[in-house]
Amino acid sequence: MSAPAGPSTLWLARHEALLMRRDFSRIRPKVAWILLAVLAIMHLVGLSLLRELRRQGPTETQIVMVLAIAMGFIFALMLAKALTACVHVIHGRRDLDMLFSAPVPIHRIVAVRMGAAAFGTALPFLFLVMPFVNVFVAAGNFRFLGVYAVIVAIALVTSVLGLLLALVLLKSFGARRTEIAAQIVGAVFGALAFLLSQARVLLPDALRERLWLALFERAASVDQGGDPLWMWPGAAATSEPKQLLVIVVGSILFFAASIRLVAPAVAWWARASFGAPAEIAKPRASAAGERLRFRAGVLRALFVKEWRLLLRNPLTIFHTLMKSLYLAPMVVVALRADDPLLGAAAVAGLIVAIALQLASALASNTMSGEDAPDLVAAAPISPARLKLVKLAAALTPVLGVVALASLAVAAVSPRAALWTMAMSALAAAAAGMMALWHEEPPARTDLRRRQHDLSALTFIETALTVAFGGATFLAVKGSAMAFAPAAIGLAILIALAPRERRRAPA
């Protein structure tokens, strides 16, 4: 009698889909409504893009070229996201050990888990392009539905590449530090992709012109019957049958064959990271070489603890600095201008934006990242005071950094420095409020803490960054319009404020 074959790939995929659905169902209705509003606004942007394209009448080659460049950009960003997703596949969720002990072929489990990672990687990009594709399809351009297929194909390929990279990182850094290494590598990829996309702004004029010239020459060769490989994703996105077929079928085959090959390595690392953490990651001694030195004071204890933990989690600060890179093009443009006030305004806006990002990262790390919530809740200090002190501990370093940066701005324009200080304080307070209102205390049994609607909040945080940074820029320039973005930022904050205060345990 033969043994039963075990659950099918489809059965495992249904289990994975159920877990993903549960994750999505935790997105708060208010956040979902804001995302829907953003989606609606992006449809309007798509509509104006369609009108503009109709007015300009680009050639087919130009459309394919732009789409190919866009797909290349998406590829780099997806690779960054896929890397962290793949590390999470290997040792993020604790059920992999249990699944591997089930009578199911390992490659089947890894394939399903990786398929879910690829889907998770593709989803934000599908969300991003959906309004544009919708508008184009509604106007009768059904061929742009190919964009979806290409994005899914890119997700499959980048997931495999991310998995290979994750295995290299695991071998190099060990299980415990790989998660941090992956986030750093991923963030660097993302930032590089962004900076490449901004080459038009960042590059010196001469180099930029030479690149444009080379691109036009390529386009001319295509018009004369050439078919360069780098433009295939663009052609596939416009549903060119040959390119679409090769890219979609190729990516599926690449995914399936790679998973079959690397599944044993994934299983080994997953087991190693669960089964023998002490062997893989040796405990680190404190750099401080602590002595038994106790000091009095609740405030002091809380501040010292929060600062120690923040300093020992450099990933937060690294992420914030990487995010700040995304604002670099705006500053470069401003600094190239002849008007020194314009430069000061841009730098002031940048400082405020960084202050908000840093404050948000530190505050959410402090508020939601509490490792021992029961301990602090059981301490003889009122919950309100506790939260206030924790928030103050998170925001104090931000204001210190801002004060130093404002001194530099003051050398060019004291008025700009004042605006920088005032708006940074407002932005930091806004970020602190967000962290306080959306604090996610971990479930007692969920030590790893699932990220619920973090992506949505990141999106809103970006909107606040633009609003307060923009308001500062306009205020330093002396524009009365500065009130508009500031008011939008405050309106977003008011919309997110909890209607009913949750009763905290005493």
């Binding site: 405990p283 602590e290 038994l292 106790f294 004071g297 603890k305 933990l309 020992r312």
Partner: protein, 250 residues
């Protein structure tokens, strides 16, 4: 009149269903009280309310005469709560963890220094005092959390499944420390599923089921209540938790 260490009257807590349903419980000073009950009986919910981590829907809790609802800060000064999962700050060392605890509970620095030195030594953590907790085994984490609780010298210690995951030596150490606390006049309440531990450790045992206390007393008293003078605690426990639950008096 001497105040009991813990006095619970008509305690009620509902989630989807009643988790604690009109519970009355008194724990005297200087005793080691073990709370037993099947999964979902309401043991942890009760103890979390005593520690001030959950608000009751009804009833009162007094710790050493201090009403937990009226003066939660004063109550928290008296109580040390050790959850079943030893949650620590992975990036802090045991010494830094104890410094944080000492600050939060306002333990005078000289007292905290001496106690920390003693506790780290007794619990076998001295050689690991400058290592971050991220690489610690469950047993070491449990001992670090226990050191944090003992550092405050609490009148009432509440421990939820304190022996889960400990090896024999560590379990013995914890049991000895708890006995020493009780001998010093403190009160210890613990929950456990290991009935053998309850049988050997506890001065009195309370059995909770469906959020209500169904039996209480020393092992001999429990045997008497059940009319089974030669039964083991396991047999008594199974008998009591299987019996139908009576509706609370209106």
């Amino acid at each position: 009149m001497i105040e009991p260490a813990l006095a619970i009257r008509g305690l009620v807590k509902r989630f989807d269903r009643p988790a604690v349903d009109g519970l009355d419980l008194t724990v005297r000073k200087g005793e080691l009280y073990t709370l037993l009950g099947p999964n979902g009986a309401g043991k942890t919910t009760t103890l979390r309310m005593v520690a001030g981590l959950l608000d009751p829907d009804g009833g009162t809790i007094a710790v050493d005469g201090v009403d937990v609802a009226r003066d939660p800060i004063a109550a928290k000064r008296i109580v040390a709560w050790l959850p079943d999962e030893p949650l620590l700050y992975d990036r802090l060392t045991p010494v830094e963890y104890l410094q944080f605890i000492a600050g939060l509970w306002s333990v005078p620095p000289d007292v905290a220094t001496q106690r920390a030195r003693d506790l780290l030594g007794v619990l076998g953590l001295w050689d690991h005092r400058d290592q971050r907790c991220e690489g610690f085994s469950r047993g070491m984490r449990q001992k670090t959390v226990l050191a944090g609780a003992l550092l405050r010298d609490p009148l009432l210690m509440i421990l939820d499944e304190p022996l889960t995951g400990l090896d024999a030596a560590a379990a013995r150490l914890v049991k000895d420390l708890l006995h020493a606390r009780v001998a010093d006049g403190a009160t210890v309440i613990l929950t456990t599923h290991i009935l053998d531990v309850a049988e050997r450790l506890a001065d009195r045992i309370g059995i909770i089921r469906a959020g209500r206390l169904v039996a209480e007393g020393t092992l001999a008293e429990l045997r008497g209540q059940a009319g089974q003078h030669h039964s083991t605690l396991e047999e008594l426990f199974l008998e009591l938790v299987r019996a139908p639950v009576e509706a609370p008096a209106a």
